[in-house]
Amino acid sequence: MRASKESTARPAASGAAGRSARARARRRATTADIAMMAPPLVLVAGLIIVPIAIAVYLSFTDWNGFTSPPHLIGFRNYVRLTEDSAVRHAAFLTLLITAVGTVACNVLGLGVALLLNRNNRINAFLRVLVFYPYVVGAVILGFLWSSILGTSGAVNAAVGAKHSLPFLSDPTWAVVTVICVIVWSSFGVNVVLYLAGLQTVPDSVIEAAKIDGATPWQTFWRVKLPMLAPTVTVNVVLVVIGLLRVYELILALTAGGPAGETRSFVYNILTSSFDNTQLGYGAAQSVVLMVVIVTVTVAITAARRRSEQAVAA
């Protein structure tokens, strides 16, 4: 609340008494202000910012969760990270999932959004249908697909033992399956967001393109897609952040198997932290992931802003 507004509200106050009354009112307003902002500030400071600092600290220790205090061991955790084949494999897999998944989710998301863009009952139903995985949650979706694609799952039971397919038991197949299930469970969100984006493209512009003789293909590439640029950025950022931290779905779908082949980066963090009680080592991996996610988000947003400025200039 501003002091100037305070004074206009009390036109009767004047002179020295008025000044001190105003000062008192201002102080009271500031106190109320701080009291209002304090609770979330305490929560965020205590349970997000301090923990980030602690993660950095723990990453330089050998803390196992029980012995206190943790011993400082310098950069040993970070060095070990680069030499640990499990971590390297998980990092590679996570990047692969993120790269393929981001492209697939956005292409599918936009494609299906274009398919369902017209407003009618069937499309409204289909919109609800593609989005339902989001409310079911990754753990249950993982179990569901594991009971469909597992060795004795529905598909293999239906085709018979002779023709059974190693969806989750062969390392290469398992990676492909994991990526497909991830895309299946998350592209509905992209469909919904792209549909919202398409609503913002004015009909008049599309009409104008048609009158100018543009084919549907040209209308898409030259008119709709450029106008969707901000929507694309939102979708890409959301998918990238989501996939860099993929964990629950893999846990339920493959439990990291076969032989640890489908362990993601977060999977490894939580395994080294809790199953192997190496919380210091887990913290080092967490710090790396935080840095990667923040960097990627900032980079994508900055790149978008630069390209928007280039268009404006």
């Binding site: 609340m1 902002m37 923990p51 919109r127 949650g137 753990v139 697909w145």
Partner: protein, 276 residues
């Protein structure tokens, strides 16, 4: 033109098949015997459908689905209530205050926007241990509420800035305090943005696995739907008469709720993602 139409129909058919297939399997196989699930996973069971497996899952001594529902629902309500109590007045103060420290506080509150909760679990355990709150429901609720702060602050502040300041002035002349002004005058106007925040937070809490699993922990004996299903299924993943009924029980109420609230839920997510 007709080729286009055929392509469109085929694409829609494929989409429906891929999305409905898993639901169909979950629904039908929850009523079949293990033998029938393995023999005719997609078709009509020789032994007929039976409610036995569903009631077995409902009354299983290993995992009480109904209790898990109660617990999860309670967590959803508690986190939403705490979120509004904590973030509401703060967002109002930030939106109305033009000082530099208001902006600084806003930035601090947004700090968690890109920090994945899963990477915070380890150090948060450290903090909660120091506070004696690890493995307790209050500790869990505090952390879960904290994770909702960044997005909610962002949405609320943007909304309050569109509410005319004249309303505050009028309330103050009528003698309302700042809290009174917020809760009685501004908050009732925030219904759409509160609905958006509640949708995002509720789904976040409902589907959360990592925090109830690691902050609350199995030793607390408190299971949410996700951690309970995980505990029940991961041990018996090949006994499909346990797997399918449990999945159906965990999913069906959410799907029914979703079907009735789909406009709110999809709208809420869209608003949250585009503004956030």
């Amino acid at each position: 033109m007709t080729a286009r139409r055929v392509g469109r129909v085929l694409a829609v058919a494929l989409l429906v098949l891929v999305m409905v297939g898993p639901l169909y399997l979950m629904l039908t196989n929850a009523f079949k015997s293990q033998h029938d699930i393995l023999a005719v996973p997609f078709g009509w069971p020789s032994g007929g459908f039976s409610l036995k497996y569903l009631t077995d899952a409902l009354t299983s001594p290993d995992f009480n689905v109904v209790a898990a529902y109660g617990v999860t629902l309670l967590f959803v309500v508690a986190v939403n209530a705490l979120n509004l109590l904590v973030v509401g007045p703060a967002s109002y103060a930030i939106a109305r205050g033009g000082r530099r420290y208001h902006r600084a506080i806003m930035l601090v509150l947004l700090a968690g926007l890109f920090i994945p909760g899963q990477t915070l679990v380890i150090p948060v355990i450290y903090v909660l241990k120091a506070l004696g709150l690890i493995g307790t429901v209050p500790g869990f609720l505090l952390f879960e509420t904290t994770l909702t702060v960044p997005t909610t602050v962002f949405l609320f502040v943007a909304f309050v800035q569109t509410v005319p300041r004249e309303l505050d002035e009028a309330a103050r002349i009528d003698g309302a305090s700042r809290y009174g002004t917020f809760w009685r005058v501004i908050f009732p106007l925030m219904r759409p943005v509160v609905a958006t925040a509640m949708v995002l937070n509720s789904i976040g809490v409902w589907t959360d696995f990592v925090n109830p699993q690691f902050i609350l922990g199995p030793q607390s004996g408190v299971y949410t739907v996700t951690t309970g299903v995980y505990a029940a299924i991961s041990r018996l993943s090949t006994d499909y008469t346990v797997v399918y009924p449990n999945m159906l029980l965990a999913t069906a109420p959410v799907i029914v709720f979703y079907v009735f609230m789909q406009k709110r839920i999809i709208g809420g997510l869209t608003a949250g993602a585009i503004k956030g």
